[in-house]
Amino acid sequence: MSSMNRREFLQIMAAASAAGFALDARSVWAAGKGDSLYELKKFGNVHFLHFTDCHAQLQPIHFREPSVNLGIGGAAGKAPHLVGEHLLKAFGIKPGGIEAHAFTYLNFEKAAKTYGKVGGFAHLATLVKRLRAGRPGALLLDGGDTWQGSATALWSNGQDMVDACKLLGVDIMAGHWEFTLGDKRVLEIVEKDFKGKIDFVAQNIKTSDFGDKVFEPYSMREMNGVKIAVIGQAFPYTPIANPRWMVPEWTFGIQDDNMQKTVDEARAKGAHVVVVLSHNGMDVDLKMASRVTGIDAIMGGHTHDGVPQPSVIKNAGGQTLVTNAGSNGKFLGVLDFDVKNGKVSDFRYKLLPVFSNLLPADTEMAALIDKVRAPHKAKLEEKLAVSEGLLYRRGNFNGSWDQLILDAIMEVQGADIGFSPGFRWGTTILPGQAITFEHLMDQTAITYPSVTLSEMKGDQIKSILEDVGDNLFNPDPYYQQGGDMVRVGGLAYACDPNAKIGNRIRDMRLGGKPLDADKTYKVAGWAPVAEGAKGEPVWDVVARYLRDKKTITARKLNQPKLVGMKGNPGHAA
């Protein structure tokens, strides 16, 4: 998409306003606040720019934030488990404006039309350059989930993103989905493409036999005379949530003890500022911040939470900031520290939404992206169908995109029940928009895409739902895996997130009749983690379904009946 200048943008805003898409646009833009969004005054002498979980989205996209992001136990009512008005209120964001649109699902369709798409590496590159100009020495951190999530990343084995990140000027990186390209490919990139340019760090990846380190645990830098250590934390449950056979010789885990040792070692080597670049997920980061001392900030990702301000966590050694910078290229976090006498004395943080209409495309990055896409253009742009409703994924339970995938795989496979993984990535399609093959790949581009059809007994189906439910709702974050609930097609159920494993899932019904524990049902699914699983790639199955239907009506979401969640600020009223 070509960029427009401010005058053109304001003209569109006026037109949108006249068409009833006002959303406080005038007060934001006419007063020049649109420009000031990116005029962030420099503070202090140490600066970090942070993006995470971009999921290989090189192009500007739409991304709807969740309306359901429940916090359980001690996490209830606290960031990141706040949605809609609750989030606006907690962070003092004015309803109806551009920031309210960036951080919440409120009035999504209208606001998305008004403010346009978000992200895109060419626009992100412009923002990074601007911020770097005002913040000499600033380090650009990539939290991971960068080499997966699009057609071009899958087809180039991550190479398009590797090249884009080098051009963007990433300094230090952590990882998760990267590992689904396989251990050999990751090492190839780290040892060849990244050598001398980008440090790929992970304190919590070891060889599974003798516990030897696989990557450097941290990177030491100096910025404006201040010594800095950035420690990497990979997604601790990669071999569980994703196929273990792709990284057979590596072990992960949270590794608090080793994190403490690493922090202490970095401090002993003279680091005045210690930052953890984390792919733990925000709930795990919050707990880790309370247990490990000596970390100034944990800059996190994985759970895709766009949190406007850090959580400040007290611990035995002082305090640690915990941030989370959203997903899909939608945000860039800016953390400024004032370091005096070898200590952090104060900070400023801003999570900047990347609105592609307000940031002209960087020409060099735009050229790289064009080059990446050129050989695949016709395939990417094939219009498979038109969507009448909003298609989105993010949220604790079924979003409309997964509902569509479930409807497709169940129909094609002749299944009674469908399961679709609780992935948090995937872009959003507005009503009336064509669904292209590229959009479909945004939801499905993984290295283990097979569609499966299994025979399962009722009690097996329940135990799977209980298992995944516990990965999401266990009150101890260290037992959570950071995905959303498995998306379920065909089967109605009730869910009590506060209950213990074994009792959360209730009243399972198929066609109105209770699920029989001993009866066998046909269950369609995709993304099997077991080695050797075979089946047609999910994008081919769904593409066939879409081409056949031509028009996709608004989906009817199969949401569970929630028990005990009334008044939870992680749920839209």
Partner: protein
């Protein structure tokens, strides 16, 4: 990347012979320092934790901070769950590891001669989420530490 191909080859050979159950930390626990303990049939064949503890003579025990049990929060592979136990309790003469929900909970017992550092590492098989319990014996008394290890079907994350 630090590699020691020789070590790795040795280990691969060992695991192909099925010796995955207990890897005694090399150099920490010298084979000569281990008593050739007698097979405690009653304890190892007990079908529940209470029975196993009774068989060990450890029916009465107390939790101790000085017994450090390291296990993952969630097992990456239920077939080989790494367990590490270190006892800082003076005069520790044995360490046992139990997996409560295994068909026979007592998995391993290690005895130490005078002066041997009581630290052991093992890889245990777990079929389902369970408490893992370490039991140390010192001066005739028993001390315990425990933690739940979750075994999950996997997939669906992120």
């Amino acid at each position: 990347m630090e590699m020691n191909p020789a070590r790795r080859t040795v280990l691969r050979g060992a695991s192909s012979l099925g010796a995955l159950s207990a890897l005694v930390l090399a150099g920490v626990l010298k084979p000569t320092a281990v008593y050739a303990a007698e097979w405690n049939k009653a304890a190892f064949e007990a079908k529940d934790t209470a029975g196993a503890l009774k068989g060990m003579g450890a029916a009465a025990s107390a939790d101790s901070k000085d017994l450090v049990l390291k296990v993952p929060d969630i097992a990456e592979n239920g077939a080989v769950v790494p367990v590490d136990v270190l006892s800082n309790i003076p005069n520790t003469t044995s360490i046992a590891i139990l997996v409560e929900k295994n068909p026979q909970p007592l998995c391993a017992q290690f005895d130490f001669a005078n002066g041997a550092l009581p630290e052991v590492a093992a890889r245990l098989k777990m079929g389902q989420t369970s408490l893992v319990k370490a039991v140390a014996k010192a001066d005739g008394k028993f001390y315990t530490a425990q933690k739940e290890v979750k075994v999950t079907v996997g997939g669906c994350g992120g």
